[in-house]
Amino acid sequence: MMPLRRHLGLLVGPQEMGRTWYFWVGFVIVIGVGAAAPQYLGRFDLLNLANFLTSIFLALSLCLIWGFCGILSLGQAAFLGLGGYAYGVAGINFIESHGNTWAALGIGLAVPVLLAAVLGFVMFYARLKGVYVAILMLVVTLLFETFLNQTAGQGWFIGEAHLGGNNGLGRFSGVIKKPPSFIFSEGGIKFLGKSYAFFYLTFGLAVLCYLGLRILVNSKLGYVMVAIREDPERTEALGYDVRLIQLIVFCISALLASMSGILYVSWGRFITPDVFGVYNNILPVIWVAVAGRKSLTATVIGTLVLVWLSQRLTETDYAFVVLGGILLGAMMLLPEGVITGIVDRGTALRARLAARKSARA
């Protein structure tokens, strides 16, 4: 029981907002309201909410490496896309024919992590400057987009899965073989986007990832990550192999991003090379930067709000101008992020009020 309590203690460590009882009351209320969503949401809104939730993992992946470890990647969608494709290809081959969802999931998670390990090894062990890492990741993801866009020909089959070029995975073969949703156990529940099962799965995973990352950032590794963000040279002199830790965190973030990709494919049974494109890479940067990159909580809230907003904006021509403006405005006015900024100011104000009160007393 002792280690468990210890881990729960890490949940409320100082690296993340939420050290007060009312934060956790709010948390439980949000979980409750979220879990009851099927009660009050329409069919489309529920489906849509599940889609929003899949974005959280991508946002958290960027929050972890950029906000906590100081590595900005402008190509996080590379891991999302690769995860989605790998899961989809494996799914068409394994789930459709053998019903083996676990194998497909494993492959979907492993391939992006492998890519992260290779790229990370080259970049971090070369002690590449941060800006180089950022733009190289963008180049890598755009190259994936270009590559997959030219796989419409009939030579591009992996097993039974046709890569399908711009038309998307499995969409461009005679009898369309779409990437499948999760099915656990024979004839078990099918986790298609429309189902309650999928909503609860994604919701549960999002909550678990959020709590898990809270523990991670308050663990020993978490402190080392923050130390690397603040001053890599100093951290090395304290006996930490900065390159290795950056590589590990990079791989964890790839894992998180690939979860977004896998869930997205399971949700809509659909993935195209567009997922690797510029917009899918700039969106997580907008979410995380605007919300507050140094906070998991801010990231989750900000992502949900901004994803919702960009969908609302779809009805206008101004969508990306507005999003770009929000990003630029936030970077200039509240560089630590809007939510983090507000919370910090609130805390400071409360502290000042408390000080004044005690001075009067």
């Binding site: 402190y223 001053d231 040279e233 100093r234 002199a237 192999d241």
Partner: protein
């Protein structure tokens, strides 16, 4: 066999030879100051010793092992503790967590708490453990940085300008701290600008100039060396203006 032995060490940046053929040796238990005017190559030499940059030429041996190409974290575990010129503390973390970073390699739980308390007492920082480092006074942050280096239980302690930005009282206390660490048997190298502090330490001095070892010897001999006075005077205007140098 010296504890640290440096042979013909050279490093150039953009055509400028920051460190140029330096030979340097340090016996176990020694206290040494390295001085030199601005741009003499002190900081580069320091970084070469801790390993965050690698030399173009030359060799570094530490505890009988060639560490010329070893990474800083390897050197740290071999016993090189470092306090940087620019504040090497993590402003966003608390004092406790700053100390925890070097300590968590070997300690945890109660043992770590005890060690943290011991270090804080020694650094005159008792009672500050839950405060964010950014809220500390400048001198306190310098001490914390030294404390973090000590927390690694170093054999060799490298201190780059440990008194930068300190008042006379704090400087004196820092000198006492350095002496007490030295008396515990730790070999200490102090890279310093402030001659008053060097005098307080009273240790042998190595003078760097244009990336080379210009002079080496006991403090008194160095202070009376005409050439050393000359190179310092040449650069004294800016330094006097900063109130750092009083010959």
């Amino acid at each position: 066999m010296p504890l640290l032995e440096v042979e013909n060490l050279s490093k150039a940046f953009g055509g400028v030879r920051a460190v140029d053929g330096v030979d340097f040796a340090l016996e176990q238990g020694e206290l040494r100051c390295i001085i030199g005017p601005n741009g003499a190559g002190k900081s580069t030499f320091f970084k070469l010793l801790l390993g965050s940059i690698k030399p173009d030429r030359g060799r570094i041996r530490f505890r009988d092992r060639d560490v010329t190409r070893a990474e800083p974290h390897t050197r740290a575990h071999m016993g090189i503790g470092v306090k940087f010129q620019h504040l090497g503390v993590y402003g966003d973390l608390t004092v406790r967590h700053n100390l925890q970073l070097p300590l968590q390699h070997s300690l945890s739980g109660e043992a770590m708490d005890a060690e943290i308390a011991r270090l804080l007492a020694r650094l005159n920082l008792a009672g500050t453990e839950e405060r964010r480092v950014a809220e500390l006074a400048h001198g306190q942050r310098q001490w914390l940085a030294i404390g973090m280096a000590l927390a690694m239980r170093p054999v060799l302690l490298l201190l780059d300008e440990p008194t930068a930005g300190m008042g006379p009282e704090e400087t004196r206390e820092t000198g006492a701290l350095v002496h007490s660490v030295h008396e515990e048997g730790v070999t200490v190298v102090v890279v310093e600008h402030d001659m008053a502090f060097v005098r307080q330490l009273g240790a042998p001095v190595t003078v760097l100039h244009y990336g080379r070892v210009f002079a080496e010897g006991p403090l008194a001999a160095i202070e009376s060396n005409e050439d050393v006075r000359h190179i310092y005077l040449g650069a004294s205007r800016t330094m006097a203006a900063r109130g750092r140098y009083d010959p």
